[in-house]
Symmetry: C2
Subunit: 131 residues, 2 copies
C-alpha cells in the first residue's frame, strides 16, 4: 500500500465511522498529539481535540444516522502531512470537503475537516462561476 | 518573527492581495512546487496551479473589488506545513476559511483555500448546533 493509498483509506474510515455512528472508531482516527480542528458546515470553527470530539460524540449520538457517501476522493501528500479533497453525497445535499491528516505513531490520523455545499452560492459575495 | 507569525503574515497577505485585486501578489503567494488546490464557496474543487491561478485571475479582474476582512486568524504548525483557520467578513456574508501553507524555498506559500458560510445551515443534513 502506498502512502497515498493509506491516506485515502484513513479518509474512507472517517466516512465509514460517520455513517456507522461509530464514535470509538472516530475517536481513534483523530490525532492525539497534533493540533485538531473541525469546521462543520455552517458552524463556527472548533479548535482542540476536546471540542472536536465532543461535536462528534453529539453528532454520532443522533438516533437517525447520517448516510453519507464519499466520492471523487483525491489525496495530496506533503511529507508527513496530507490533504484529501472529496465530495460528500447526503440525502438532500451535495458537499465538498477538505480533510487533513498527519502521520502520528506510524498511522495517518485526522487533524481537520471542513465541509461546505457545492453550488450553494457565489464566491465570497461575487456572482462568479469557474470557467 | 516566529514561524507562527510568518504563517499569519502570509495569510494576511492573501487577504490584502484579494482586497487589492493584486493578481501579481496572489500569484507570488501560491506555491510553485507543492500541489495547489482551492475550493471557492459553492464551487467544485479546483486542483492544480493552473486551474487555481486561472480562478484568481478571473476573480481579481472583476471591476468591483471584493472587500474582505480577515479576523480571528489562528495558525497551527505541523513542521513545514501550516493550517490557518480564520473568519472572513464581506459586505453581505460571514464565512469561515481554512488556508493551508507549506514552506517552499524558505517562504510560507499557500497550497489550499476553502471558505464556506457560517450559520448557513445544518451539519451534513442534520439540524445540530455545537454545544
Amino acid at each position: 500500500m502506498t502512502e497515498r493509498d493509506a491516506v485515502l483509506a484513513a479518509n474512507l474510515e472517517f466516512y465509514r465511522a460517520f455513517t456507522a455512528s461509530d464514535y470509538r472508531a472516530m475517536e481513534t482516527l483523530w490525532a492525539r498529539v497534533a493540533p485538531v480542528l473541525c469546521i462543520h458546515p455552517g458552524w463556527p470553527p472548533l479548535l482542540g481535540r476536546e471540542a472536536v470530539m465532543q461535536s462528534w460524540r453529539d453528532l454520532l449520538a443522533n438516533p437517525e444516522p447520517t448516510h453519507i457517501m464519499c466520492h471523487d476522493d483525491q489525496a495530496f501528500l506533503y511529507g508527513d502531512f496530507a490533504t484529501v479533497i472529496c465530495e460528500e453525497e447526503l440525502a438532500n445535499v451535495h458537499l465538498v470537503a477538505t480533510n487533513l491528516f498527519v502521520k502520528e505513531s506510524g498511522a495517518w490520523r485526522m487533524v481537520h475537516h471542513q465541509a461546505g455545499p457545492i453550488l450553494a452560492g457565489s464566491y465570497e459575495g461575487q456572482p462568479h462561476r469557474p470557467h
